[in-house]
Amino acid sequence: MKLGYVFGEVGQGLKRNLSMVVSIVLVTFLSLSFVGTAALLQLQIGQMKNYWYDRAQVAVYLCSEFSPAEACPQGAASADVKSSIEAKLQDSTLSPYVDKFYFQDQDQALKQFQEEFKDNTITNYVTADQLNETFWVKLKNPTDGAIITQSFTGVAGVEEVRDQRSYLDQIFSILNAASLAAVGIASVMLFSAILLISTTIRQSAFSRRREIGIMRLVGASNFYIQLPFIIEGVVAAAIGSILAGGTVVAIVQFFVQGYLAQSLPFTNFVSLGTALSLVPIIFGIGVALAAIASIVSIKRYLRA
């Protein structure tokens, strides 16, 4: 096998079909960028889930003087109410699910509020007695929040039970939907990339039909005839894949680490290392799809 011949043919084919080759590069570039972005989002969701689900607690808000009358007809929760809730959390029905719990009084709640809304003028207007006394319950398994919610909702002196996980689930489902949308767009574009590759290969083969005819006549092996076309498709897709890999790395380097991580310092974002580990996967997907599309289309062309 003479490699010089093969690469000469590949070079000629790429030049002859330049506009088609450029469109293959662009379509694989864009589609694989979407694939990479979707993968980043999924990894980000995974990381955030681990981090936040670990910290998510169920809050049992007790009635305060400012609570709405329909939830708290008896007014502010009494000491009896607090001790009965404490007893209930410790008894044999609930304690298997509870990792730990603590009581937060109104002054502590104000301190936490002021901490959380440090730069917000709202802290000037909020006083301790407007806030709820709260039992914070940390569960052994964060998915068991419904057990606490059911046990305490409607109990006298309890204004509301809130599973923090339900807030997180909303955020995660939005992120999840975004990544699914990216995958959807990516698959449509990958499909068109495949069609584009097979059209280009067929066109390339057609423009070399005389040579192909002679090669078949004199007994060149099928592999030898097909190889330049397969390499042609793979090279074009490989360029697009490398660009897509670069884009994913750039997104993490400049947007996630450079911007998001600076503005949200306490969030654990995907790292550059993770992005770099995606590059070979993206490259592999691009090259494998192009190889399959090229092989199938040149084989079909030669059979016809």
């Binding site: 005389r210 040579e211 002679i214 006549l217 004199v218 060149a220 092996s221 030898y224």
Partner: protein, 232 residues
């Protein structure tokens, strides 16, 4: 060398068979003319021998290969033992005479050293010395057919198939090409040539197989075109 038995071929959508129960034996070193009108099945038969096509019925053995059952990946290696020339030459217009002949050696993996030696010697054999750097459009029809012939025999095939090789040439040039075929035959290559050319068939007095409507109507040795036609 070639053993064809009761081969029939019906192409899709065609009302009648292109080949209808054709049987023929061709020995090593034979020089056989296939004659008959257009559409009589000459080209179909040649295509079968090259395994460009597979019969609908019957059996065909060429160079010891069963062409019905040969696996697709072995077909290229089978074809390396067969040369073929056509009426329309089928040269690559963007390659020189030398490159046209060299191409068919390169694509079957012959070494540059082999190519550098084999091509000039085969060009000398077909009488194209000094023209190796010309392009096909700078050559006469006869010269182009010599290039095609050089390409067909450069790999020293055991069998040479020729599909109306003189169809586009004037009588004098045709005779030169046939003389060349005769020399190739004398060197031991089996030749099967489909032709319309009565003059050539009459002069050569070789084995003549007459096809009509896909059937062999006569098969005689040492006769001319007319005789063969009359014999049926």
């Amino acid at each position: 060398m070639i053993s064809i038995e009761k081969v029939s071929k019906t192409y899709k959508g065609a009302s009648r068979a292109a080949l209808d129960s054709v049987s023929i034996e061709i020995e090593k070193g034979d020089f056989v003319f296939l004659v008959g009108a257009s559409g009589s099945g000459k080209s179909s038969l040649l295509r079968m021998m090259l395994r460009e096509d597979v019969p609908s019925k019957g059996s065909i053995f060429v160079l010891g290969e069963n062409l019905i059952s040969i696996p697709a990946r072995k077909v290229p290696y089978f074809r390396r033992n067969i040369g073929m020339v056509f009426q329309d030459f089928r040269l690559l217009p963007n390659k020189t005479v030398f490159q046209n002949v060299a191409f068919c050696l390169e694509v079957i993996g012959k070494s540059p050293a082999f190519v550098a030696e084999a091509v000039p010697s085969v060009l000398k054999l077909v009488g194209l010395e000094g023209k190796q750097d010309r392009y096909p459009n700078e050559l006469s029809g006869g010269e182009q057919q010599r290039v095609a012939l050089a390409r067909a025999i450069v790999n020293k095939p055991q069998l040479l198939l020729a599909d109306e090789p003189t169809g586009n040439l004037d009588p004098a040039t045709s005779q030169e090409i046939v003389n060349l075929l005769e020399r190739i035959s004398a060197a031991g290559t089996t030749i099967v040539m489909a032709t319309h050319d009565r003059g050539i068939v009459d002069r050569m007095q070789r084995r003549v197989v007459v096809l009509k409507d896909g059937q062999i109507v006569s098969d005689d040795r040492g006769v001319g075109y007319e005789k063969a036609e009359e014999a049926r």
